[in-house]
């Protein structure tokens, strides 16, 4: 193994076979979330607790709906990457690790689908 250069080690992609892809995706989504968070959070916070009609009217706006959908997609993709690291670090039992890994993937994609569907339904007229 000592004959391998650092570059070869990287292109060899390790046991996960995807090299630095995980870190890169985390960085890309984090930059996106730095932009999306202020666009989303004030609108979301201002209407949390308001009556149903107001929420439907606000998220009926295409721009507000789109920001909310993209926020949910990127957030849960970033969460999936982050939770995966935490699972890999703290759960060593193979069975539990596999269960947690699958649970993480299922939960995050389910949340993406649910959030996108919900906001799209509101935007198209609930």
């Amino acid at each position: 193994m000592q004959f391998l250069t650092d570059r070869k080690r990287t292109t060899g992609l390790g046991s996960a076979k995807d090299g630095t892809e995980h870190l890169w995706q985390t960085k890309v989504t984090s930059v996106a979330l730095v932009i999306l968070t202020p666009l989303f959070i004030f609108m979301f916070g201002a209407h949390l607790g308001k009556d149903h009609g107001t929420v439907l009217a606000v998220y009926g706006n295409p721009m507000i709906a789109l920001i909310a959908i993209v926020m949910i997609l990127v957030t849960f993709y970033h969460l999936k990457l982050g939770l995966q690291l935490v699972i890999e670090d703290y759960i060593s039992n193979h069975l539990w690790r596999t269960v947690a890994m699958l649970g993480n993937i299922f939960l995050c994609y389910a949340a993406m689908a649910a959030g996108t569907f919900a906001i799209a339904k509101i935007a198209f007229g609930a």
Binding site: V34, G49, H52, L79, G115, A118
Partner: protein, 128 residues
């Protein structure tokens, strides 16, 4: 690299005998806020799903999310979000090998804590 120079080197001190420092505490907080926000983000999705479902179910879920406990979770998530964003920016600088000196890391850590509190209060002022 995992396979290079893996000699008989000493292990790093165990966590429990290591004096907490702002750098280590903020590092652990980054994970805690990230994992913790799972709950707040799922509540947000549930709230959107309820709004899409109809007025009765919306009132029910909206009541839970804005209840004493739900409100506390959302408030904690708001601070966690701003902390995670600010500290995440700090990580992005580190990835470019910038601001990594000990005194800079300490000062940027203090700045991140201050910014997260200020942004949380600012958000509350704007939305309430």
């Amino acid at each position: 690299m995992a396979d290079v120079n893996r000699g008989n080197r000493p292990l790093s001190p165990h966590l429990t005998i290591y004096r907490p420092q702002i750098t280590s505490v903020l590092s652990i907080l980054m994970r805690i806020t990230g994992v913790g926000m799972t709950l707040g983000s799922l509540l947000a999705v549930w709230w959107f799903l309820a709004a899409a479902s109809g007025p009765e179910y919306y009132d029910y879920v909206n009541g839970i999310v804005t209840s004493w406990l739900g409100g506390l979770i959302m408030l904690a998530s708001l601070w966690a979000l701003w902390y995670h964003v600010c500290n995440g920016l700090r990580y992005l600088f580190w990835f470019e090998a910038k601001h990594l000196d000990v005194d800079k890391v300490t000062r940027s850590g203090q700045a991140v804590v201050a910014a997260s509190v200020i942004l949380t209060l600012l958000t509350l002022i704007i939305i309430l």
